[in-house]
């Protein structure tokens, strides 16, 4: 069943950055060129208003989004996506920024490292182990996990715990649909996800002065996992996921800080106990299990009241107020009724 979720904060798709510019590559090219010129103009004029600079960035001037290498079956399924299932009025973060400014420490801690290094990740064939409290555990080919489902496009805000944010057009399948296919038992209270652990493919896992233990582990409460907003993404900007964005199969939980949205998943385990997640293990006083976007609860070392919507320029840093639950409160606030979110951060 397809959900057409529309909330008060949304305006029709016609008001998004003109007509999904990325679906029409020629138009995308013209757009990005125009934005780049506008950006230059703003820089030269030495003044600008916030908001105007939303899409300013140094675009590859050929304007064509490079096609991602990947298995044909996946391409075919991703490209048949149902557009506009969930949208926002905000301007999209340009493709070039979404695919070149990444936190994916398995490929290095610099923002540009994943783009530089992720070519060593082999995403085909890809299998996922499903285990724990499910009636149908086993090791599954990614193709068999995805095949029964239709792909949906969902444009979500992504708020990083480092106080920057993006707006990203994902393509994927609601996690609930995927989980149901393995028939969780009544004991399944949490879902634990694990990223591939292979230092040969993921050079960042060899790093010596890092504080994280590999493999990367994340988790959700079962009701969070089953929420219609929670997505398993296999695509981005009308194509399959680039490696640096977590190919071939990643989680997207838009009301939580970005580190919850674990990438390149090889294991899904349903459990009775709350999973021990990577960042929580590394610094429990700074990163909690829930990690809901919350301007009222600061990171101990910096404020979470504002965010820089990327891309910014120095004259227009796009500094905006952070919304509780990243603006998805209407859909998810009920999940946390009666909980002290200062304690369960």
């Amino acid at each position: 069943m397809l959900l057409k979720i529309k909330k008060h904060s949304d305006i029709g798709s016609s008001e998004i950055t003109p007509e999904h510019i990325y679906h029409d590559r020629r138009r995308f090219m013209q757009q990005s060129g125009r934005f780049a010129l506008a950006g230059l103009g703003l820089m030269l004029a030495g003044c600008s208003q916030e908001g105007e600079a939303k899409a300013i960035s140094k675009q590859p001037q050929d304007g064509v989004i490079p096609s991602q290498p990947g298995p044909e079956w996946l391409k075919k399924q991703v490209l048949a996506f149902n557009p506009d299932v969930y949208t926002t009025t905000e301007a999209l973060t340009p493709h070039q920024v979404v695919t070149s400014y990444n936190n994916f420490y398995e490929f290095g801690t610099g923002k540009g490292d994943p783009l530089r290094n992720a070519h060593s990740l082999k995403t085909d064939p890809w299998s996922v182990v499903v285990e724990g409290e499910v009636a149908k555990p086993g090791r599954y080919h990614l193709e068999d996990i995805l095949k029964p489902h239709g792909m949906e496009e969902r444009i979500y805000r992504l708020r990083c715990v480092e106080a920057w944010s993006m707006v990203i057009p994902w393509i994927g399948i609601p996690l609930a649909n995927i989980l149901k296919q393995f028939e969780p038992t009544s004991k399944a209270r949490f879902v634990e996800f694990t990223t591939l652990h292979d230092p040969e493919q993921m050079p960042g896992q060899k790093a010596s002065f890092g504080s994280l233990d590999w493999p990367y582990v994340e988790g959700l409460r079962i009701d969070e996992a089953m929420n219609p907003l929670t997505l398993m993404a296999t695509g981005l900007y009308g194509d399959i996921l680039p490696n640096q964005n977590g190919a071939p199969f990643r989680l997207v939980v838009p009301w939580k800080y970005g580190f919850k949205s674990i990438k390149s998943i090889v294991k899904i385990r349903l459990t009775e106990q709350q999973p021990k997640t990577t960042w929580e293990t590394s610094a429990p006083q700074e990163y909690g299990f829930y990690a809901n976007v919350n301007p009222a609860v600061d990171h101990p070392r910096w404020s979470q009241k504002h965010e820089r919507r990327l891309p910014g320029t120095l004259l227009a840093p796009n500094r905006i107020e952070t919304q509780p639950f990243n603006g998805y409160g209407e859909e998810v606030a009920d999940l946390y009724k009666g909980m002290d979110l200062t304690r369960f951060y």
């Binding site: 400014y101 801690t109 920057w164 002065f209 101990p300 070392r301 910014g312």
Partner: protein, 195 residues
């Protein structure tokens, strides 16, 4: 004009090169999608580099026997102060949009900011008292006051270390360089006493 003065004339614009590079990148919109953060971190890192360079002068003099090197020390120290002040201004202008209240909140809540602020305050005090006039006026106290540069450097490294999320490589490298520079001094002091 002597040779040292000539070299100083060359070192001065060279020291401005990192700033010019950052400004050109900013104007070309070439600092990445988060230029506020890139600029602030870049300026902070250069402040630390100049601080370490100024601390390297004395050991370098002892090791090479070139006494004239001392004439570069004040200039390098003042460049450390220069970049540290720009670092603070970039933070205030581009990260906080001039929200002074947020800065005040940072100054009592966030340990890495507090430590950075202490380090910068020391550099300001040393900068203000760096003239020949002040040297004469303060006499013996001048040396005691300027020994605080060691504290400023240690605090600057801690400031860097505490803002890192997970990858400590860079601050560990700077910390190791600082440790070497301080250890060289400890040895020099003990030798000096024996002689």
């Amino acid at each position: 004009m002597d040779r040292v003065a000539n070299i100083k004339l060359a070192v001065f614009p060279l020291s401005l090169f990192p700033l010019a590079d950052l400004i050109i990148k900013a104007l070309e919109n070439n600092l990445g999608p988060d230029p506020a953060s890139a600029l602030t971190h870049g300026l902070g890192e250069w402040a630390l580099i100049f601080l370490l360079l100024s601390l390297a002068i004395s050991p370098a003099r002892r090791l090479t026997g070139i006494g004239k090197l001392i004439r570069f020390r004040r200039m390098l120290g003042l460049f450390a102060l220069f970049y540290a002040v720009l670092h603070l201004l970039a933070y205030l202008a581009f990260m906080l949009s001039w929200e002074w209240l947020t800065l005040l909140e940072d100054l009592y809540k966030r340990s890495y900011i507090i430590v950075g602020a202490f380090s910068l305050s020391i550099l300001v005090a040393l900068g203000v008292t760096s003239t020949k006039k002040m040297m004469k006026r303060l006499g013996k106290q001048w040396l005691q006051l300027h020994r605080l540069v060691y504290v400023a450097a240690v605090l600057a490294v801690i400031h860097f270390l505490w803002l890192v999320k997970s990858d400590y490589t860079e601050p560990v490298i700077y910390g190791a360089l600082l440790a070497i520079l301080l250890l060289l001094r400890a040895r020099v002091f003990s030798f000096g006493r024996k002689r």
